[in-house]
Symmetry: C2
DNA sequence: ATTAGAATTTAGGGTGGACTAAATTATTTT
DNA sequence: AAAATAATTTAGTCCACCCTAAATTCTAAT
């Protein structure tokens, strides 16, 4: 059973890649949750992906799936497109960083090789999208990123924001309003135990942020 | 039976609009031909479009369809997107005029209102696409265009090319190579009877073109 | 008015992709 | 080890969209 990569399958592969970061397998439920699709439907699709030739996933009943080399290549290809598109929408079409995801998630299935390479070129071969997520290069090599959360810092550490992991538009707009965006430099001036609040100095301005927020911000110490 | 405009239905509506230019109805066969879909499949879709609420076409068995006001609005909306996209791909992303159609035909079903208005703005609200086809404005009013074919001219008439009606990439590249593009001014210096060849002066250069070519070029006399 | 040919519709099927409800299997708790 | 709970799969549907082959209907020529 050959398979044509379609809209739906591409989104599945992306989700599987995202969930199985550390080599773990992606469970039916986790995928259903992430894709907003009923678990029963996910099972069906996982079977199709596993029976494709070449197979895109290894599927063990009741134990979820892992990507095969083919599946991973396909996933990286679409992730590259997604992040290039987000960057393009943000930089060239003036989309705000909370609007780019939805649009990119539709465009990614449709643009040609030429479109992809054109925007890559016009953007100067960007390495990160507006949220700070790394963009796989032309050979589909994904740069490894530090994964220290802002919530883990203690005074008097200094750091630079690397990426923000949030899909909620309200949160993204809030963070942008406070300049909590990739590239911003900050300093921890206080830590409050029990509630985990951090007092942060950014642009000569002080703010107190709870862990519900700081958990979503990944930083590099400096 | 409500209907969601999908990829397929949008392409049908565009095709119906294009075929039924002069108020005539679009036949099953003409649509099948244009969309490269079996006639039997077209019948099925026409029924669905007719049974939608509100209906997008008036369907009379064995007599083809005409667009309802809703259908026409939907068609114009998607034609606007298509032509804006073609213009954008050509002007801002460096696509050649024989490459834009295919890409636009996929993107048109996917871009948001915001994307559409952004590129419209960046292009300065263009009125014509790279082939010279008029772009419906925001109120979906389609500018009427003269429709005199170059093949109908005789010496010593002068004219400006308005639009080129061709989907064949080879022809489009040929025409571009000869500067036979919208905006070019030319003069007819000779007409050869029987074969219909025209000798044309364009950019101080003379060329002889047969009716197979000149039929696809629409001009405005001057 | 009949009839041949062309256009169109019907009948029957297939694929991708989603759903709900019910059954099954795995895991955790007792 | 047994029972309760959670995760997953099966079974049965549905919808959009396409296909081929066969039947029907329209149209135009005789
Ligand atoms: Mn997507
Ligand atoms: Mn992103
Ligand atoms: Mn299209
Ligand atoms: Mn065009």
């Amino acid at each position: 059973m050959k398979i044509t990569l379609t809209h739906a399958t591409e989104d599945y592969l992306k989700a599987i890649y995202a969930i199985s970061v550390d080599g773990a397998s992606a469970s039916t439920n986790a995928l259903a949750e992430r894709l907003k699709i009923a678990p029963a439907s996910v099972t069906g699709m996982l079977k199709r992906l596993a029976e494709a030739s070449p197979p895109h996933v290894d599927y063990r009943k009741h134990h979820g799936v892992t990507l095969t080399p083919e599946g991973e290549r396909a996933a990286l290809k679409i992730i590259r497109r997604h992040r290039l598109l987000e960057t393009y929408l943000h930089e060239m079409l003036g989309f705000s960083w909370d609007e780019v995801h939805e649009e990119a998630c539709l465009l990614e299935h449709v643009i040609s090789e030429r479109f992809e390479s054109r925007i890559d070129e016009l953007l100067g071969h960007p390495t990160h999208d507006p949220h700070g997520d790394p963009i796989p290069d032309l050979n589909l090599v994904m740069p490894q990123e530090a994964s220290v959360r802002l919530s883990a810092l203690r005074p008097p550490q200094k750091a630079t924001i690397q990426r923000v992991d949030a899909k909620d538009g309200d949160l993204l707009r809030f963070l942008e309003g406070k300049s909590l965006v990739p590239g911003s430099k900050l300093e921890i001036s206080a830590y409050s135990p029990f509630d985990g609040n951090l007092t942060i100095l950014l642009n000569q301005q002080e703010m107190i942020l709870g862990p519900t927020i700081t958990r979503h911000i990944f930083i590099e110490e400096n």
